[in-house]
Symmetry: C2
């Protein structure tokens, strides 16, 4: 196994991982502005965290900063994109081709971040047989036929009532990681990765914060 793979396969603490796309974003801004180097205090300052935190987070990649000048911008962008898994393509199946599912397939630009949706599944005859941006939608019964060892990721955008059973169907047929967009707390075996992204929970938090501020002012 190569050096790069070893790095990628290390478990990185979630807070560090979540900060890395922020570093990447900043580095891209620095690149655009023509900066060749960026220092950890500068990155830290923009993000309002401690410079030692930046150094520690970035030590998970194979790029080290240089005394006085800091990190070389372009190689660090390359390394971070690779490190975060955005440069290699993982294949995924999507379950639930409603409004959110269609959006993820059609417009989202997930491919540039390393996720390729290769098929969609639903039970609605209106969407079965359709193709969105080249991605065909099948009846969910076809899933067992179409799954193969390259597909390890399942995206869950079904209605809440069928979220748990759909997750179980995925897992029983070889899915190892579920990107769960439903607000349901999935019960899964320990060896299965679940990433929860409940947009409506975020929306609820935003509404509450906005309306409570409004009532004060």
């Amino acid at each position: 196994m190569g050096k790069e793979n070893k790095k990628k396969n290390r478990v990185v603490p979630e807070p560090a991982l979540r900060r890395m796309p922020c570093y990447l974003a900043q580095l891209k801004v620095a690149k655009k502005e023509g900066q060749k180097y960026i220092s950890s205090p500068k990155i830290a300052n923009i993000m309002d965290i401690d410079p030692t935190q930046v150094t520690k987070d970035l030590s998970y990649t194979k790029i080290a900063g240089k005394t006085r000048v800091g990190y070389e911008v372009e190689p660090l962008i390359e390394e971070l994109e690779d490190f975060l898994g955005f440069k290699s393509l993982d294949e995924a199946f999507l379950f639930g081709v409603g409004s959110l599912g269609t959006a993820l397939i059609r417009d989202f630009g997930l491919k540039q971040f390393g996720l390729n949706i290769s098929a969609g599944f639903d039970i609605n005859p209106d969407v079965i047989g359709q193709k969105y941006d080249g991605v065909e939608i099948y009846h969910v019964d076809k899933f067992k036929e179409l799954i193969n060892p390259d597909i390890k990721i399942g995206i869950l955008t079904v209605p809440v009532e069928v979220a748990q059973e759909t997750a179980e169907l995925m897992i029983d047929n070889g899915i190892k990681a579920i990107w769960n967009f439903t607000p349901v707390i999935l019960r899964v075996p320990d060896n299965i990765v679940v990433q929860n992204t409940s947009l409506y929970a975020h929306l609820a938090v935003m509404f509450n914060r906005l309306h409570s501020k409004e009532s004060k002012s």
Copy 2:
């Protein structure tokens, strides 16, 4: 001010708020299954949390559980949807009509959760003048003309290089809450609400967990 508004305007702790859409999801499942009541231990068990936590979270709404039978399913669904702000419509402007921005406008179904995008802004001549599902896309210079006191929410889906300046433009012209889909940490005044939803950070965490598990097995 009515009773309902008072409730809505109270600041609810974020963890409680984030759990509420899960409760809502469960209640909808219970309703579908024909259950008239659901107990807090049952909700707690499915979500793997303590029943007292459920009771405490739900005490922020105006519905109380009844001894022995628990919560009446239908009224609690109504109340939670209202409490979470999903029943009244907030207007929003969206900035950055790329792949993600288009998806949010076109397919996402945000309206059923109380968010209506009434206009999109970009600088790309290919999208300016377009209409997606009835939502017109304008040049960003038109924003100052079109903003009005009803629009308090701005959705930020611009490229990272212009995220901070776009946020400032929004705030300078009356936006009070920013739903930030970029990985950039925005610097904003204290009275501005920022809700960060970095999908690519979630993706990065999922990739890391999946690939580190794979390398172990």
